[in-house]
Amino acid sequence: MPAVAETIETVQSVQEGGYKWGFETDIEMEFAPKGLNEDIVRFISKKKNEPEWLLEWRLKAFALWQKMEEPNWAAVSYPKIDYQDAYYYAAPVKKAGPKSLDEVDPELLKTYAKLGIPLKEQAILAGVEGAGESPADSGRMPVAVDAVFDSVSVATTFRDELSKHGIIFCSISEAVQEHPELVREYLGSVVPQGDNYFACLNSAVFTDGSFVYIPKGVRCPMELSTYFRINAKSTGQFERTLIIADAGSHVSYLEGCTAPQRDENQLHAAVVELVAMDDATIKYSTVQNWYPGDADGKGGIYNFVTKRGACRGARSKISWTQVETGSAVTWKYPSCILLGDDSVGEFYSVAVTNNFQQADTGTKMFHIGRNTKSTIVSKGISAGRSQNTYRGLVKISPKAKGARNFTQCDSLLIGDQCGAHTVPYIENRCITAKVEHEATTSRIAEDQLFYCRARGLNEEEAVGLIVNGFCREVLKELPMEFAVEAQKLLAISLEGSVG
């Protein structure tokens, strides 16, 4: 079919310019010396004025990490990472105290503008006192933003509004200073230091991230959002996010990520821990758009992320929704530990790979409590020469009477040089549990494209429509504004993937 030949050509011709967030911001940075050793760990801890217990915690992680080996079981391949050839601390130089936002480098603000951060919050970042503390006047739902630039949180918006409800939303560095008891209790309680190689590295060198605490019975009145941006060269980004939803509370949290275009690969190894108590709900949505590398597979972010939520309380619920379009290599399995009886875990995922991108992503659902329920819906879209793997584990313990899981994995192939793989593991030790798994693999059929074109859509519009239809079950889980952004992103990521 001529369509296929053209597909290949077009995929090959996808330009670097396809990534529109690939700019670099020229701002004054403060770096720790390159490389990784105990002194660097101490440097980071000192720089952040951390208490002794946290330094000890980091050092323990570092000691563990030195004895660990990088995992190689994922269906991804990349050159060996030289962990000594990176900076582990890079922070925008602050010209004054951290509290005054008008001290923020204007270049930084320009960056946020370019990123299209949903900032009416721009005004707040620009230092206009009280701006944005009332709900946005544009008629939109306000979104509180914590912006993390390289390793350091630079601004958090809507704080006063949130604090009226007793909600804490700040950078994790601030939380360490102001709410050490909470951080100490929960940090590493879901993802322990020695959990895996990348989480362990993160535990030793994490520099910032977001912290959220929702008190008992509080329904967070707005979406909380963190924008992560890697900017500095040869910098690893190791952010750490901790969200605690106390009994009966509810929170929806959004995470967006971008990075500049660079020839060399950059490492991103984040850890996200979620804790939901009785009747609490956490909805965690990610639109991941790290730089994926160019059309020849050069550059791009290595995204090795550990995300896990613990449904500790009865009837608690944790829902992960992710739209993964960026990164050269993605290694990510947002998981749920369903401890509380009747607790619910959900994982909705769209992973798009194009050119030479590789994604090995999925989820783990650990059913421990009775009548625990989990739902997994994974949509993988592969184009170009990319490889896209769903890897999932559903583990049901003997005590998890009446546990239920439903898994659906669908793969869509565009062109004939990409790969889609599904690796579902099921371990059921409970006779009353019910586990269902469905999987499909399909292509965008030539007749679907022609049908759309015969109705007036051009080829890219047609692909966008078909792909969005394919992902609909996942996209509908995203908060409204994010869903619109995600739909556009899907279309952009696949631009030129069909001839």
């Binding site: 007749d447 679907q448 022609f450 015969a454 109705r455 007036g456 859509l457």
Partner: protein, 247 residues
């Protein structure tokens, strides 16, 4: 006016159209009848721009424009509509969203103002009512889980919304019961007028009782072998293609 001159086309080296000459003046409905394998569907796909067909000779002009040089979506925007013999399913794509996206893509291409969601809904409901179809049609995914008859009705709904100046109906009557056939025919007849022309491709004379053609052409082995008035269809029905084409 659609003018086809000496059109030859092949698929994977096999010649299917062997020199077609045909004119459909503005305001007329022409029927093309022929046995299986005579090239009827190939003709409809070549006219609407489907990939995979090599056009080896001849020309097609549409209101003076070189139709063969246009992309499928450009042909759609220029007013050409193909009602598919086998309408395609688009899982997860809502019918209303699809129809509005398509309509607006065409309007954009013509430099017209796009239709917003409310105005579209109003327009769609109007058309549905005319065609005796339920609003449910809009809520479902494009052709997913539709019966054969529903799929064809959906084609007619699309045609009514796009309001084309030239509609090619590719065996739209196949697999339809008599009620569905009537609805589909009413859809075409509603568009009938001095600015609308149509090429009705069919295997059976039955459809032509409802959509009465101005001219009937017999397609055999990639060529038009006979043309005549509407009575030719009846003759074909009575005598079969072998006899009629030899006459």
């Amino acid at each position: 006016m659609l003018r086809i001159e000496g059109l030859t086309a092949e698929i994977e080296g096999k010649q299917i159209l062997k020199g077609i000459d045909l004119e459909v003046p503005k305001g007329e409905i022409h029927a093309i009848m022929g046995p299986n394998g005579s090239g009827k569907s190939t003709l409809s796909y070549v006219l609407s721009g489907r990939e995979g067909y090599d056009i080896t000779g001849g020309s097609v002009t549409w209101n003076g424009q070189d139709l063969l040089a246009m992309e499928p979506e450009e042909r759609a925007a220029a007013g050409l509509f193909l009602a598919f013999q086998y309408p395609v399913e688009l899982p997860g794509v809502g019918n209303a969203n699809f129809l509005r996206t398509a309509l607006n893509a065409q309007r954009r291409a013509r430099g017209e103002k796009e239709v917003d969601a409310m105005a579209f809904l109003k327009l769609a409901r109007e058309k549905l009512k005319k065609l005796h179809m339920s609003d449910e049609m809009l809520k479902r995914n494009v052709n997913v889980g539709f019966s054969g008859g529903e799929k064809k009705r959906n084609e007619v709904l699309q045609m009514a919304l796009m309001n084309p100046s030239m509609a090619i109906l590719d065996e739209t009557d196949s697999g339809l019961d008599i009620d569905a056939l009537r609805i589909v025919s009413e859809g075409v007849n509603a568009l009938r007028g001095p600015d609308f022309s149509s090429l009705v491709i069919t295997h059976y004379q039955r459809l032509l009782n409802y959509i009465v053609p101005d001219r009937v052409h017999v397609l055999m082995d990639g060529r038009i072998v006979r043309s005549g008035g509407k009575e030719l269809a009846e003759e074909l029905e009575a005598q079969g293609y072998g006899q009629a084409s030899a006459a």
